[in-house]
């Protein structure tokens, strides 16, 4: 297991480097100058701009700039946001917990829906329930998150007036009331992301259970007289869920995409909405840092999935 862990960690490093190269290449290829804003500002003379360019090393060759940028990123020196007037790392650390909370909760919701539905559908393939679940899953991942979000706002905030549709961090209530208010405002974003995720995970679970349920050891378990419930929960599901871990991790980039949209709809102060507002405000350091953070999170979750995979299925670690 230890060796496997080390190997996985070593594999993650080149992909992180690769991602950083792609991001930096995009930035370096882009026309325009990060200090263009300053050029139009009459209060800043051209000499200051030239000095700033030399200070930030913008005239150096690209590989040198890449190494310097990477070193700065690795040390947590992500630059200064010109719009928010604060360091980028403080800004991102303020926003990150909200995003992780919404994503985490929606993942839990997705698994809570997908696993029972997928397993039940797979134990009765081509039954009415299976076909219904399959069709609903298709509908679920064909509905874009921005449309589901608007639909939920329309129904639950405007017609029924049950839930607030703007996410607030400054809730003044205390104690239980505070938790209640938080839950209420987080309900719709979590539902939007969770249902979207649940739709695709359900299909994975179903396919995976169908693969396992035909194996000989399941027949053996039945033959020795175990009840159907025990066979399914103890023998089939535990093995069927192993590949699902990887598939959920592979979905991570899509989940972050969905989170950006959801945060924008419900005005959640997470890093997704920070990304959009920074793009609209031309705040390049924040845009670069947020993109890099999201990429790192994807690699991190893939790594976690690999490790969990090795723990669930010990055969993998010996390969």
């Amino acid at each position: 297991m230890g060796q496997y862990l080390v190997r996985r960690l070593l594999i993650a490093i080149p992909s992180l480097l690769g991602i950083s190269i792609v991001l930096f290449a995009v930035l370096a290829l882009a026309p325009g100058d990060p200090f263009e804003e300053l050029a139009t500002n009459p209060a800043i003379p051209p000499e200051v701009r030239a000095a700033l360019r030399t200070k930030f090393g913008l005239d150096d060759p690209v590989p040198v700039r890449y190494v310097r940028w990477l070193a700065a990123m690795a040390q947590g020196d992500w630059g200064f946001s010109f719009v928010s007037r604060m360091n980028v790392d403080t800004l991102i650390l303020q926003r990150l917990p909200t995003t992780l909370f919404v994503i985490g909760a929606s993942q839990v919701l997705a698994l809570l829906i997908a696993i029972p539905v997928g397993v039940y559908a797979a134990t009765r393939p081509y039954s009415l329930f299976d076909q219904l679940a399959n069709t609903l899953a298709f509908i679920g991942f064909s509905l874009p998150t921005f449309f589901t979000g608007l639909l939920l706002i329309l129904v639950f905030s405007i017609y029924l007036d049950w839930l607030p549709f703007i996410y607030r961090t400054d809730i003044s209530a205390t104690g239980w009331r505070w938790y209640w208010e938080h839950l209420r405002q987080a309900l719709m974003p979590i539902a939007v992301l969770g249902l979207f995720q649940a739709a695709s995970v359900t299909r994975y679970v179903r396919a995976s259970v169908l693969d396992v349920i035909r194996l000989d050891y399941v027949t053996t378990a039945r033959a020795k007289g175990l009840g159907e419930r025990v066979v399914i929960t103890k023998h089939v599901v535990r093995n069927a869920l192993i590949p699902v871990v990887t598939l959920v991790a592979l979905q991570m980039p899509a989940i972050f995409g969905g989170a950006i949209v959801t945060e924008q709809i419900f005005r959640i102060p997470g890093i997704g909405s920070l990304l959009i507002s920074s793009i609209l405000a031309n705040d390049t350091p924040v845009v670069m840092a947020v993109t890099f953070i999201l990429a790192c999170l994807v690699v991190l979750f893939n790594l976690i999935a690999d490790i969990v995979y090795g723990w669930l299925d010990p055969r993998i670690t010996y390969r």
Binding site: P144, Q264, L280, V299
Partner: protein
């Protein structure tokens, strides 16, 4: 799911004989199998209707897309405006019909880019032995772990202005969106093509062609590629849907096409602040995106069954 349908030998033999009695055209066979999937056939009809509507609609429905009429602001559907109007009194039906052209064109063009990249890279990786293949697949894995939407936003943020200057506001954004969406979706296609190539290149018919002295290019283009196309077609169908969603998402975030081009996502973006007084404004474009994507996905599902010769039907 091959084994999940209990098919007795005799039933299969009868079916096979009946098949032999008819025709051998693989496309006719695929169509016959496609018809077994009722939802896919219905989806095909719906998609055909949508495509016809957006191709012919702007001629039949004479309303201009940008005629501003302040006396008819935010009207609900009526005979004069079947889908209602927006905050400037512009006719929504006309705007949606026009915007649909853009959305579908982006979807199709991005799919072509993705398939082209994916097939070329997958074919090279599949036919070459040694480090080239593994390097290309490492690249594909790397791209798969990139967060697509943030990267899409980043590229559009950085390159939008210069392309706008080079190709005009519409052309520049169109090219950028198509290339970026297509360029971020080639990986699944490349992996599919490579997997197909790895198994096909060891098959006897390829061996025979090689023994007859066919060059490597001829082997790939005439013998291996046509046999690898089934999964690629399915992936291409799904890619159209994904590209339409990606374009709508960008437009919905206000970072896609300029405001005067009413793509479906853009109309939704404009409509989202009027949900309480004019819900129809958001519902119709959303429903259009949803219906298009859903029917394309169902068609993909039908094609998956139809183009897989090993699947028992």
């Amino acid at each position: 799911m091959v084994g999940s349908i209990p098919a007795s030998l005799t039933a299969e033999a009868v079916a096979a004989r009946r098949r032999r009695a008819r025709t051998f055209s693989p496309w006719l066979e695929a169509w016959r199998r496609f018809r077994r999937h009722p939802l896919a056939v219905v989806s095909g009809a719906i998609l055909l209707a949508i495509v016809l509507a957006i191709l012919l609609g702007p001629w039949l429905w004479g309303h201009p897309i940008n005629a501003i009429d302040f006396t008819a602001r935010l009207q609900s559907p009526s005979w004069q405006h079947p889908l209602g109007t927006d905050d400037l009194g512009q006719d929504l039906l006309a705007r949606l019909l026009y915007g649909g052209r853009i959305s579908l064109a982006v979807g199709l063009a991005a799919m072509v880019v993705a398939i082209l990249f994916g097939t070329i890279i997958g074919a090279v990786a599949g036919i070459s032995r040694g480090w080239v293949g593994s390097a290309l697949m490492w690249l594909a894995d790397l791209f798969l772990s990139l967060p697509q939407l943030p990267l899409l936003l980043l590229v559009i943020y950085l390159f939008r202005d210069s392309l706008k200057n080079a190709f005009g506001p519409e052309g520049g954004v169109f090219i950028l969106i198509v290339i970026v969406i297509g360029g971020l979706r080639w990986m699944p296609v490349a992996r599919l093509v490579r997997a197909q190539f790895l198994s096909l290149r060891e098959k006897e018919f390829v061996e025979a062609a090689r023994a007859l002295g066919a060059s490597r290019t001829r082997l790939v283009i005439r013998h291996i590629l046509p046999n690898a196309l089934g999964p690629v077609i399915v992936a291409g169908t799904i890619d159209v849907a994904a590209a339409i969603i990606a374009e709508s998402t960008l437009s919905f975030l206000g970072l896609g096409f300029p405001p005067d081009i009413p793509t479906w996502g853009r109309v939704l973006f404009d409509a989202k602040d009027y949900l309480d007084i004019a819900p129809h404004w958001a519902l119709f474009p959303g429903a259009a995106i949803f219906l298009t994507v859903l029917s394309i996905n169902f068609i993909g599902d039908g094609l998956r069954d139809a183009l897989d010769p090993r699947k028992v039907m």
